[in-house]
């Protein structure tokens, strides 16, 4: 039997999390490069219903891993369920999206099996028969190609945006769905999760903004935010920020862009004093045009910027605001 890849998709409130398609696309690419087969698994009490959606993609088989103990999500139950599936099916490589939920259980699962996870990967390479996973290091300043030095099963997680979900290939015919009932004994689950909730209603919906002026640590002090705000107003855009700014309380949490905040894709994203940590970039890399101002010429934000201005934002923003105002007045 050829080696198999198993992609574990994620469901959220009865729907497939969109990043699941990206991981399937990634799994398909690895399968094409290695000649391995590709299966998928969905974990949860109502997995069977969603399994059909996954089975439409080019995969060999879809496992619906079920137990009443899988609802609501706990790391104990998910690790126990997947351990049983993986022990039974023996995939060589297990892929998952690097979501907050996966981060919560996959290191536990791999450790329970004496294995390791190459986490938060942005791609893979297949060189001379060796599979390498590419991941960002030092907040994106460097990248590393990492290999497994242990026996299978190997675990890897892919960063949001590592592959294009819309490029997940459809299958010629629907893949077989196999329901796998797992036994989770009493006492395995120790955490008691309460209902998921959202904090106070968001006052601003940044996902609808066409122009976003976003500030990071480089703004230095709360009083300097006003300068960025004036530029945002002159441009007719919204003001946003990276996480540290909201952590400091300088801007409300609903203006935070990144993995823990909002994901945006405006026409123009103007990043002021934002270094470009991965957690921020995943929230804005879909912007059509990115202009970055940063005094550090090696800041990772420049890697994804269309226009780069290496310099002090305090020198650059005021004249820029004036020029924008002049241009608008003249038009």
């Amino acid at each position: 039997m050829p080696d198999a890849i198993l992609v574990v998709v994620e469901q959220r409130e009865g729907k497939l999390n969109r990043v699941s398609w990206e991981t399937i696309a990634g799994g398909q690419a690895i399968a094409a490069a290695t000649g391995w087969t590709l299966d998928a698994a969905i974990v949860g009490e109502n997995g069977s219903a969603l399994a059909a959606e996954v089975a439409a993609k080019k995969v060999t088989k879809v496992y619906a891993v079920e137990s009443p103990k899988l609802e609501p999500y706990t790391p104990d139950a998910f690790a126990a369920a997947l351990k049983q599936l993986i022990a039974a099916k023996q995939p060589k490589l297990v892929l998952m999206p690097h979501t907050y939920q996966v981060r919560d259980f996959v290191p536990k699962l791999a450790t329970a099996m004496g294995r390791t996870v190459i986490s938060d990967c942005i791609g893979f390479k297949h060189e001379n028969g060796k599979l390498l996973f590419t991941r960002q290091m030092f907040q994106g300043k460097l990248a590393a190609d990492v290999s497994f030095a242990s026996e299978a099963p190997w675990f890897a997680t892919f960063q949001n945006g590592a592959f294009r979900g819309d490029q997940a290939e459809a299958g010629a015919s629907a893949a077989a769905i196999e329901t796998v009932k797992v036994e989770i004994t009493d006492g395995v689950i120790r955490n008691k999760p309460q209902d998921v909730f959202k904090e106070a209603k968001q006052a601003v919906d940044l996902t609808q903004a066409e122009i976003i002026v976003s500030v990071g640590r480089g703004i230095k002090e709360q009083k300097n935010i006003e300068m960025a705000k004036q530029l945002a107003e002159a441009l007719g855009g919204e003001l946003a920020a990276s996480r540290p700014i909201c952590d400091n309380g300088w801007l409300p949490m609903d203006r935070q862009i990144g993995s823990s905040g909002q994901t945006v894709a405006p026409k123009l994203y103007l990043a002021l004093g934002i270094s470009g940590a991965i957690q921020h970039i995943v929230g804005m890399k879909g912007a059509r045009t990115i202009i970055a101002v940063n005094k550090d010429s090696e800041a990772p934000i420049f890697e994804i910027a269309d226009y780069a201005i290496v310099g002090n934002l305090f020198d650059i923003v005021p004249p820029l605001t004036e020029e924008v105002k002049k241009a608008k007045a003249g038009s």
């Binding site: 790391p75 104990d76 907050y100 919560d104 290191p107 536990k108 450790t111 390791t116 996870v117 190459i118 986490s119 991941r135 290091m137 030092f138 907040q139 460097l142 990248a143 190609d145 290999s147 030095a149 242990s150 120790r190 955490n191 999760p193 309460q194 209902d195 998921v196 909730f197 959202k198 904090e199 122009i211 640590r217 996480r243 540290p244 952590d247 949490m253 823990s260 905040g261 909002q262 123009l268 991965i278 045009t289 202009i291 090696e298 990772p300 890697e303 994804i304 910027a305 269309d306 226009y307 780069a308 201005i309 020198d315 004249p319 820029l320 004036e322 020029e323 924008v324 002049k326 608008k328």
Partner: protein, 282 residues
């Protein structure tokens, strides 16, 4: 036995006694901390291109600073003890010194350059071995490190110890024998989770406001014990790394970036020209 260890034994015994006496009112917390290159430090690759050259400035991994702050706040509320642990060469002791100056009671330093190259699995194993004679109620880590960025060590440590865990924590409330934590989920969602003690929590940046070390704190830190653990002491617990960095490199650029240079006034004019004529957003 070296005298530092004797002093430490007496110290822990005192707390062990207190722990068994009124355990529900006392919290003994371990905070795992890491020294990482400073955020804007220019990084250079070593000759083998497998790691960075170590001649850079270092600082405390930011989420770990929030983990320490949370531990100090919990101790202030419930009394108990805050112990900090790190692994790495002599330079990494600075992280422990700063933590002691901020109010941690004592420190454990797994001191060897070899610890820098361990994967998350082995780092967690080394920590577990170093604390095997301790009885903590809680272990905190930052949610991830700014160097490797695995986001795994805390969860692996929980599994090795057989403890429950919760990740990306924004609030902690202790009840009689359990805790209620607030987990941050994606896209602005949250969730409260009740869990028994002992437990491992990975702490999110921004859970609290960091304190500064006071002059008195810095003075007092000099007399606080740092237990040094040599590689040999935990060697038996760790094995070969399960994953290997084959090469480290400056990322390949996928986007064509246009640099805009000049005086601030020139840059402003050039940018507005692009905004108007190329991007058509003005």
């Amino acid at each position: 036995m070296p005298s530092a260890n004797c002093q430490l034994l007496i110290y822990t015994d005192k707390f062990a006694a207190r722990n068994s006496y009124v355990r529900s009112n006392v919290l003994k917390i371990l905070v795992c901390m890491k020294q990482v290159p400073q955020k804007d430090a220019p990084l250079k690759l070593n000759d083998a291109a497998t790691w960075i050259r170590e001649d850079v400035s270092y600082e405390v991994n930011e989420p770990d600073a929030f983990a320490l702050e949370e531990a100090l706040r919990q101790r202030e509320k419930h009394t108990g003890e805050v112990v900090v642990i790190t692994s790495g060469p002599a330079r990494s002791q600075q992280v422990l010194r700063e933590a002691l100056a901020k109010g941690a009671d004592r420190a454990i330093h797994l001191e060897d350059n070899a610890f820098v190259g361990l994967d998350a699995f082995n780092t967690a194993k080394a920590f577990a071995a170093a604390i095997k004679d301790e009885k903590f109620d809680l272990i905190f880590t930052g949610l991830q490190s700014d160097d490797y960025g695995y986001a795994q060590t805390g969860v692996i440590l929980a599994e090795l110890l057989g403890w429950p865990h919760a990740t990306i924590i924004m609030h902690i409330e202790k009840n009689e024998t359990s805790i209620r934590v607030k987990r941050e989920l994606e896209a602005g969602f949250f969730q409260y989770v009740d869990m028994p003690l002992p437990a491992v929590l990975t702490i999110q940046s921004g859970i609290n406001k960091l304190r500064y070390a006071t002059l008195i704190g810095i003075k007092q830190a000099k007399n606080k014990p740092i237990r040094k653990v040599a590689l040999a002491e935990v060697q038996a617990a760790i094995g070969e790394n399960l994953q290997k960095i084959e090469r480290l490199y400056v990322p390949e650029k996928t986007k064509k970036t246009v640099h805009i240079d000049g005086t601030p006034a020139e840059i402003a004019k050039k940018l507005v020209d692009k905004l108007r004529n190329e991007l058509r957003v003005l």
